[in-house]
Amino acid sequence: MISLARLNSNTFMSNWRWIRLLAVIAVGSLIVSCKKEQVEPYKKWGFSKPDYFPEPVYNFDNNKQTFQKFTLGRELFYDPFLSSDGTVSCASCHANSHAFAGHNTALSPGVNNLLGTRNSPSIANMAWSPSFMWDGGINHIEVMPIAPLTNPVEMNETLANIIAKLQQSEKYKKLFKEAYGTEDVTDQRVLKALTQYMMMIVSNNSKYDQVKHGEATFTDAEQQGYELFQQKCSQCHTEPLFTDYSFRNNGLDQSFSDGGRFLITQNENDKGKFKVPSLRNVALTYPYMHDGRYYTLNDVLNHYATGVQHSSTLDPLLENGIPLPGNEKTLLIAFLNTLSDYHLMTDFWLAEPKH
């Protein structure tokens, strides 16, 4: 109850809705707490680096973390009002129920059901990512939202319109005032608030993490799968974030309809290279690859075992594919399943705000 009491006294005062909600929770948890401590959010609010994670790339030096900015960011993230026709929000393609990836479709529909060309990735652990998008074209998380907000096949809005719409909203006037001291809406404020919300999407409570903390143990199959993973996959999908953030061609195609990293660097040697995706929550975020071509982990493993296509930019590590004889696929999948973080999907702070 300590964290709730603290928040109650200094950050929520001006927000009646929250106070009401908290009061309900507080009373609820008082009743329940005699038996079980379940109602309280499983972790305290605030960004903190899990001890075995590297230092995050994002620091809050120019965007001091406050609960009010986070709250504003969460409202914006879930609000379809930001899109040109009021139908699509960030959460439409990055749903908490899907570990912040798309709704298990290869491509995610934007306004007017238009489709882009790439699969919506999970946006957990963005605080550690040095670049964004499958091709790494975006260099800072704060400017990341500009792309979906303005992309004609995603939210199809201009920043100027978004500012104008928010400025007319009583709800947002209040939220901006609480977050920044004045009602002024600027794109910088919108972007920094969205960032505050996104930085809190930290996935570090899967079985894998619990094993790291000595709170759980792998089954034999999971343990063997883990060892195989370390031998065969971790050069690229490096622990604990399960990516080294490099751009590589893992042999999906011989010629490339999507140039990937090449589109950003214009370097021929980057053709067909994409950012190594994190495998956290991978069992939940099918379909797979930049274009969502594979629907099951088994398909992915078959690709690595027997389907690797040769081209001049194929990663040297995959020259002979990754042989996975006997029951190795089953074991690897057993391990990959331990990367699912069910707490993340029900996280109290990250869920859609209830009004």
Binding site: I138, V143, I146, A147, N151, A160, T186, D187, Q188, L191
Partner: protein, 257 residues
């Protein structure tokens, strides 16, 4: 207590007298004396002598193209002024988006709080320094809502020149979005101009101006006619060549006080 007050008073009075005296003897020597605004203006010319105009058919003497500009904007940043003693005054948070369709073809930049003194040189950056290209959401002149930031390939569009031309390869219109802040195709350029032996004395009259001149037609000096290429929308060698040529055309014109 009383004594400290008295002492303080005397000190104040003395320094006031000293300041006045000094003022008379050496009116422009010390930065502590005061500050004034200086205006930096850039005149855009066409064919060396004519005034550059938007929404007007202009013939580029370098390529023969007929060009009618609807948009011409670019960034200037990090303005500094050099004092006669060799030290520099640097404008804090110095970012300007010159938008010729809104500000006319001789846009001005206000340099506020320039300390009194003699100045002999101006330095500035054409484009936005690399730091601000990689530091997340900015505001003011650098706000991404101004349409000068690439959303899918992060970085500022340092210069936008758009319009219509019967010569254009792309359906009668042209759009050059030039940018790039790193590697071989970095277009961000630092320039400086001495006031050719003169000095600008900033002493509080409120009329100090520095005039530069730039020639938009030079964008096509090396790359040639828009019939070859009428669109650039990302960093690359084309953007580099065009901006180098245009940025090379900036010249010192005159100062006045």
């Amino acid at each position: 207590m009383k004594n400290t007050f008295k002492l303080g008073f005397i000190a104040l009075a003395l320094s006031a007298i000293a300041a006045c005296k000094k003022d008379k003897i050496e009116p422009t020597d010390s930065a502590t004396l005061g500050t004034d605004n200086v205006v930096l203006k850039i005149e855009h010319t066409w064919q060396d002598s004519l005034e550059f105009q938007l929404n007007t058919d202009l013939v580029n003497p370098l390529t023969g193209d007929s060009l009618n500009f609807t948009t011409f904007k670019y960034y200037i940043s990090n303005i500094r002024l050099k004092k006669a003693d060799g030290s520099w005054w640097t404008q804090p948070n110095s970012y300007f988006l010159l938008d010729l369709s809104a500000q006319g073809t001789t846009p001005s930049m206000q340099l506020t709080g320039v300390p009194y003194g003699e100045y002999t040189e101006v330095e500035y950056v054409l484009g936005v320094d690399s730091t601000r290209n990689v530091s997340g959401a900015q505001d003011g002149a650098l706000s991404p809502s101004l349409g000068m930031f690439w959303s899918w390939n992060s970085g500022y569009i340092m210069l936008k020149a758009e319009g219509i031309s019967p010569n254009a390869s792309m359906g009668g219109s042209f759009a050059f979005h030039l940018g790039g802040f790193s590697g071989v195709n970095n277009v961000v350029t630092k320039k400086s101009h001495t006031f050719v032996g003169n000095s600008l004395s900033v002493s509080g009259n409120g009329h100090c101006q520095i005039h530069l001149e730039a020639a938009p037609q030079t964008l096509w000096q090396t790359v040639g006619s828009v019939s070859g290429n009428s669109m650039i929308h990302m960093p690359g060698s084309g953007a580099k060549t065009m901006s180098d040529d245009f940025f090379g055309s900036f010249e010192f014109e005159h100062i006045h006080e």
